[in-house]
């Protein structure tokens, strides 16, 4: 079903349909994550991928044209790149452990240690939260900083730039390191 949706995204020319279909794609991959028992990831995918990004895409769509320009010439190089990259990925998955295999690295590496330590040290039922916020607190701080930086970047690009440029023309000395 994921493949069908992806193909539909590629084939469709109406951008509105493409945006909707990518929302569908996100929702389907969220279902896939649920199947893999990664409920937190599925939650994020459903909320961000299917929810917010679809809305933002629609917002972008309102700023641009409604349909894709049709390309007449066949693009052999991109097709070749996609095929080679896809084949490499499929080749890579051959080495992956079987679904639910007890010998998988996820089951044998640091996982058991965490599951042993969490009830003693943190005592939070959701192990994902415990690892995310406590053992990997620095990473999560970094992620929050990334979200913060991205937001500030979008704000500067979308809202402030035109106004600031006009101000700079008035007095060019204004440009400091404060931004």
């Amino acid at each position: 079903m994921l493949v069908i949706t992806a193909l539909a995204v590629v084939r469709t020319r109406s951008l509105f349909a493409v945006v909707t279909l990518s929302g569908v794609f996100s929702l389907l991959s969220a279902l896939l994550f649920v199947t893999l028992d990664a409920v937190d990831v599925a939650f994020t995918e459903a909320a961000v991928g299917a929810g917010i990004s679809t809305v933002l895409m629609l917002g972008t769509l309102a700023l641009t044209s409604r349909s894709e320009r049709s390309e007449k010439k066949t693009q052999i190089v991109p097709l070749l790149t996609v095929v080679v990259a896809g084949a490499a990925m499929v080749y890579g998955t051959l080495d992956m452990p079987n679904f639910g295999s007890p010998d998988a690295p996820a089951q044998t590496h640091v996982g058991p240690e965490y599951f042993e330590r969490i009830p003693k040290e943190i005592d939070v039922p959701n192990a994902v939260t415990a690892i995310l916020a406590s053992y990997r607190g620095f990473d999560t701080l970094g992620e929050t900083a990334v979200v913060f930086t991205a937001g500030i970047g979008v704000l500067m690009l979308m809202s402030g730039l035109g106004r600031r440029r006009k101000e700079d023309e008035d007095d060019p000395d204004q440009e400091g390191g404060s931004t």
Partner: protein, 146 residues
């Protein structure tokens, strides 16, 4: 969307539920799937749906852009501040045991809660800010265009 009566009524009903669900995901993240990132997104969805169905001006009256910008920074400050707090009490950076030295496990609970709150606040702010930035530029499309 002045004439979409059903949409308007349903949205009014839903927005409260969405906020409540976001708070549940936020503060119940220790026990069930979810946490700051998801809760922040859901919280932002509440504002965005309000902005879509009613107008951008209405939602900007509820959650003004200057406040959004402050909130974006506030979340990171909450998170980093927790780390500074633990430094002051002689623990490592982001060692939540500092919050409740007599009972480190409780300290961990509180620390995770505070830190997730910081994440949620930042994500809410960023998502709403990005939505504002896009929606403010969009020409107001009439419903027939869609």
């Amino acid at each position: 969307m002045r004439h979409h009566l059903i949409l308007r009524v349903i949205t009014k009903l839903l927005v409260g539920t969405i906020f409540l669900f976001a708070l549940y995901v936020q503060f119940h993240g220790d026990y069930s799937p979810g946490g700051g990132f998801q809760a922040g997104v859901i919280m932002a969805v509440g504002f965005i749906i309000y902005g879509i169905v009613f107008t951008l001006e209405k939602v900007k009256a509820v959650f003004p852009p200057w406040l959004v910008h402050k909130v974006v920074a506030l979340g990171v400050l909450i998170y980093a501040g927790t780390g500074i707090y633990s430094l002051f009490y002689g623990y490592g950076y982001l060692d939540y045991a500092a919050i409740d030295p007599h009972h480190p496990v409780h300290g961990q609970h509180l620390g995770i809660l505070i830190v997730e709150l910081g994440v949620g606040v930042t994500v809410t702010g960023v998502m709403v800010a990005v939505y504002y930035a896009f929606a403010a530029r969009a020409p107001s499309l009439s419903d027939e265009d869609w």
